[in-house]
Symmetry: C2
Subunit: 231 residues, 2 copies
């Protein structure tokens, strides 16, 4: 499981241990979310082998069938190793990859996670919100009234269980999500908005909803952002 | 926010980007879970400055008062920077640190997360369990019947919300927790046991409870372990 940078503006080894290169260099077979971005990552990572000699298969959780997964795991049964790479950050966390790992476990094939940037963990670590209990919920519903209902339900859980509630949104909908959250959340709820993590424009702020309402809207449109609710 | 290794047997820069050293080298003030282990980490990380010239204050969430937090944040209001270091892994995630970050946000002081090993994320990434929705729940109750009741409640949530449920336990109670989970969970529930992550003895296995029941108990006693329930 090979993490890659989460920002195009970051050098690979600013956010990934040099030691990962040894693992990558030992591989010639990759299960990837997107071949083009995986090639670009490997080239930026300075792998020893010519990239044209590497084999890539694509795993996208919406289009890959169970039979495809079987086919991509078969070489591992014969002793070959595979690297799993998603488009950004940790494969298998808020990103494709888990299906291949699941198939590997079913065959008793060893799975090794490497260290790399997780925008979810970095946002949480820098939020000051409760890191002893937290949930990542992925995307909220896009439509109303489902979205407001979901925001309120997660706020309730954040309060009743003291569990930080983490979300993401398609970046072009970030401002709309923030506006709708500020519309329905209780004034005393704490909200973290963590934007462009690891990039030079990174900004991470935690305030109560009442303070967010009085502040200028942060410039988060089309920029990858993590939202965290807490008490 | 300065991550450190999660295993004593790992070199710092096997699990932490070299770039973190530049940040550490720029600091002379550290808010730490434990001064002795922070000094050892900084020495292993090969910091430029003599460690005797660095200043340390301890932040432990059970013993540090609000007034202590104010005192340790005061230098930051005057323009000094601080590094936050926990005993293992990411500060502020399943570890102290969040209170200092919260106080910093209240004053508009910038908080910057660095990359490092998170046993929670590495276990999840290598588990094959759902990484699109997951919750970290910390420690389960130690006593029965509260513990079994909590295990069943989290299993129910794993099923009804398709949300992976992650736990830890004091390492000397790992076997007891695993036995009690195997006693109460449904045969078809998937359980990941991820032990000694990033160390040479790392082992990560995901099986259904019925398979765990037929398998020899894994050797997890007194070894740091992450447990994940899913469907």
């Amino acid at each position: 499981m090979i993490p890659c940078p989460i920002s195009e503006q970051t050098e690979v080894y600013e956010v990934v241990p040099e030691a990962n290169r040894r693992v990558i260099d030992s591989l010639d077979y990759f299960i990837v979310e997107n071949t083009r971005s995986a090639r670009r990552f490997l080239s930026r990572a300075g792998v020893a082998r010519p990239i044209s000699e590497l084999e890539f298969v694509e795993l996208n959780e919406h289009t890959t069938s169970a039979a495809d997964i079987e086919r991509m795991i078969r070489p591992l049964e014969e002793g070959r190793s595979a690297g799993v790479i998603s488009e950004a950050g940790l494969p298998g966390v808020a990103d494709p990859g888990a299906q291949a790992v699941e198939a590997a476990h079913r065959r008793g094939i060893r799975v090794v996670p490497l260290v790399g940037p997780s925008s979810i963990m970095m946002a949480l670590m820098a939020s000051g919100q409760n890191g002893q209990s937290f949930a990542f919920n992925g995307y909220l519903p896009v439509k109303e009234p489902e979205r407001s209902r979901a925001v309120r339900a997660f706020e309730k859980r954040a309060l009743s269980e003291r569990q930080s509630q983490i979300f993401i949104e398609a970046p072009y909908r970030n401002v709309k999500l923030l506006e709708s959250m500020l519309g329905v959340l209780s004034p005393s709820t704490k909200l973290t908005v963590a934007c462009d993590i690891t990039s030079p424009s990174e900004s991470i702020a935690t305030m109560r909803v009442e303070q967010w309402r009085k502040s200028p809207m942060p410039d988060i449109q089309k920029r990858p952002t993590i939202f965290i609710l807490g008490i």
